[in-house]
Symmetry: C2
Subunit: 365 residues, 2 copies
């Protein structure tokens, strides 16, 4: 394996994910997949605990912010595997069934998920046999900052890499404030506090007592090198500043780079969860780092080609933020912006930058 | 064994024309809307009976074969209206909630439904006020000839104009048999019997005891002028025969016009429902006629322009069957076919042709 030239190997990997020229999220979600897999033991333990405590005939689970791509099915697979094994191993008098709700905003490509579902079901039957625990998948469109499910109807909530999406860019974040990073950070922090509180309150009504909620949150650590709450996206602002100074973009365009996105610290999360009128308590928390570079682990011992890998990282981010820019910039401007961004990312990759992830297991108070 | 390629593909290809364009199902579903409205009192009475008998905290309803268009929301509205009024009028100790599953094949345009949902919710709040009974809508992709929901989890099933879609074109319906209409009818009748039995068996597992299923079925009457089990679609075969005789299509193309579609008689329906191992009994049945021409009632007193109205009827049918033809014919052939079909329909419209609809209310045995 190591004998192959690096670039060829990376292209093979990228090709496996689905072709090099494409910028779709479905084909650029390796980082998320890695995080979901790292959190897998915690997720599985949570499901196991709920199942063993409640022995529900019908285990209802919801994945909030499921997106549309191969990762969508990773979580479903974890749920099915745990319940399938448990219901076979334990002496359960009834046949268990699973109902899984896939939630995302109404603009998510649910058609794509639904059309993959037939193949997915076939695959599960091949893996687990025809007597696999029956499961039923439904799509549940809507913002998780609104009610999504009837009261006390869900045993298990899962959400990965979704809480960083705020309900809106904080009001008052305007061009003036763009220069005052501290003021802006405070406005974002307040917005996160409001949104995450709302999220917890709504889910507490929908969760069945004895159930669990596992949240995998892209976060930051205070007093460390990863303290920018807008993490990698902050560097996109540097690229835009270059374009403004060259007259290729206007100062006002800076507001477009204010994404509704915030990575909290564990202290912020705990403060919101533990406050007096809190609905949940934190049963368990784990922290782990992720590399910005999805291929860092695999390629650790090889001579790194940071230019190529910078491009890969940027493709990944572009898949997430491009829809937010499309209304404001034309195609050429976006291409220029991301080409400059790739160069900035490339110089950062040399330092092997990371961010942190928090896996929270929450129970109803 | 040796399934024909066409029958194997039915699940992938039976879906209405998506989106909102001129030939989309969404824009051409007036006939279905009229039928749903005519059945409204029966549907509402059935919902009322279930609600008053069971007083569920969470009323779960499913619309099977919901398609994608304005009609999708007609059924939801009926359910919400009845439960909203009842829960306000009666002295119910708990707050009721509604969970609605919209089911159709995975190829249905669920994205379109989900993107309309936000506006729909706004509309409902304008009509009924902010204290409207909370409702949650989910999409449930899959063939209703497979299990779709957990056991005993649904209070109310609704399905309109969907049972005529078979799970497949009957095996053995081949080019030879295309000439033997009686033999073909028998094969179709057997397939319908098998499919409708399967449908009833699966739904009987999913329905909560005390629940109801209302089916609106496009049917036919024996010994009458509406006895063709393939109704209007039969005339498409005449159009194709013309093209074959002119050398514009091949004889083998006739198989493409064998749609997985069958309109049963009420005797056939009753026979399947009432058989010994039956899961349901027929609580109530109503029969009414529909005009082929969606504007007949409105235009009754006007000088009819049959050419225009023939085109409208054909546009409506085209929205349903075009996806079934797309893999076989090129665009020009399809355009030619439907243009000839419009002429044939136009001459038939002079006789004000109708078909019959059966509204069945079913209860668990």
């Amino acid at each position: 394996m190591g004998e192959k030239p690096l670039s060829a190997k990376v292209e093979q990997i990228v090709h496996m994910v689905g072709g090099t020229g494409e910028t779709s999220y479905a084909k650029n979600s390796i980082v998320q997949a890695k995080v979901i897999l790292k959190a897998k033991p915690i997720v599985e333990e949570a499901i196991r605990e709920v199942y063993i405590t409640l022995f529900p005939m019908k285990f209802v689970a919801a994945d909030l912010g499921c997106s549309s791509g191969p990762n969508t099915f990773l979580v479903i697979s974890e749920i099915i595997s745990v319940i399938h094994e448990l219901s076979r191993r334990l002496d359960i008098s009834h046949e268990s069934e699973i109902q899984i709700f896939l939630n995302d905003l109404p603009g998510n490509d649910f058609n794509n998920i639904f059309r993959s579902l037939t193949d997915y079901k076939k695959q599960i039957k091949e893996d687990k046999g025809e007597n696999v625990v029956p499961f039923y998948v439904a799509g549940s469109p809507g913002s998780f900052y609104t009610r999504l499910f009837p009261s006390k109807s869900v045993h298990f909530f899962h959400s990965s890499y979704s809480q960083m999406w705020l309900s809106q860019v904080p009001r008052m974040v305007d061009d003036e404030c763009t220069f005052d990073e501290l003021k802006k950070q405070n406005l974002y922090s307040e917005q996160f506090k409001e949104d995450f509180s709302t999220f917890l309150k709504l889910r507490s009504k929908e969760l069945i007592f004895g159930g669990r909620m596992v949240l995998i949150i892209a976060g930051r650590v205070n007093n460390s090198e990863y303290k920018d709450p807008f993490y990698m996206l902050g560097l996109l602002r540097l690229a835009l500043n270059d374009m403004i100074s060259e007259g290729l973009a206007r100062k006002a365009d800076r507001n477009v780079i204010n994404f509704p996105c915030y990575t909290p610290t564990i202290e912020e999360l705990k403060f919101i969860i533990d406050k007096k009128e809190g609905f949940f308590y934190l049963d368990h928390v784990e922290t782990f780092e992720s590399s910005w570079d999805p291929f860092e682990d695999e390629l650790n011992n090889l001579q790194p080609d940071y230019i190529l890998r910078g491009k890969i990282v940027v493709k990944h981010i572009q898949a997430i933020v491009e829809p937010l820019l499309n209304g404001h910039f034309d195609k050429e401007t976006i291409a220029d912006l991301f080409s400059r961004y790739a160069k900035i990312i490339t110089t950062h990759l040399v330092e092997k930058p990371k961010w942190v992830n928090f896996v929270l297991v929450l129970k109803l108070r």
